[in-house]
Symmetry: C2
Subunit: 154 residues, 2 copies
């Protein structure tokens, strides 16, 4: 059992292009803004990794939420949006708050089309320039609880 974690280094594969320059103006979740279009622009040498993505209607963007304020220490308790009126806190791992220990974002987007090293998508909740760490196709069977999964897809 590991006693002390070793840091892990990741390299962005590209970045997101949206009309939101600031986190405060971007929607909290892509599901709240599922008609607006954005783009993922991959660095050119990762282009071949997109082959076949356009066969999938939906994909996950795993991102680095760079536009969040850079705190020295991250609060382990946050007030989730649903509890803002009461001011009650929850542990950050029980929320989708962007102020996380590791500021990883997880956004489900609709794949509109792939053109060269660019993925056009709808469902925008990301600030312009957000680094993208990974893209994964969405599978109903894998990405839904057993009682929600549609056995005819994914």
């Amino acid at each position: 059992m590991p006693d002390e974690p070793s840091p892990i280094q990741l390299t962005p594969i590209g970045y997101v292009v949206t009309r939101y320059a600031e986190a405060a103006h971007a929607p909290s979740q892509s599901s709240e803004n599922h008609r607006e279009t954005g783009r993922v622009v991959l660095y050119e040498h990762f282009r071949d990794g997109l082959d076949g993505l356009d066969a999938f209607p939906y994909a996950w963007l795993l991102t680095w939420l760079h536009a969040q304020r850079d705190e020295q220490t991250v609060d382990l308790r946050v007030v989730p949006r649903a509890l803002e009126s009461t001011g009650q806190t929850r542990g950050v791992f029980a929320t989708r708050s962007p102020h996380r220990v590791n500021r990883l974002g997880l956004s489900l987007v609709r794949v509109v089309r792939v053109e060269g090293s660019t993925v056009h998508f709808t469902g925008v909740d990301l600030v312009d320039g957000t680094p993208v760490l990974d893209i994964k196709p969405w599978f109903a069977s894998t990405d839904s609880p057993p009682e929600h999964g549609d056995p005819t897809t994914g």
Copy 2:
């Protein structure tokens, strides 16, 4: 627009305890093994971040797939499991292959209970000792396509 990506450093918040010592023996997806139990053990100082997680039936584990072979260069084209009989390749970002540019894993698990800094879950697809980078509650509204989302939950 960023021309060159800066590397990003993450710190594991804990690790997974399962009965799989090797990647070759672990199920490919948690949905294929949704009854087996595993644990996430957080490093003690992250314990408060779990407060309230037990109110959610499902959660995402974002992990670092450390047990994959460490290649100098990652292939951008892989043969997905569904195409193994044909040998056809797809871009890695159009697959859930663990051999990725950034070896991020995304596993949907059922939260059984939270005890101190330990999360007991079912739905095991991870090798023992896999570093955990983030835990996020699963929301039907956010994590399902619009036509799959159940408006009564999440």
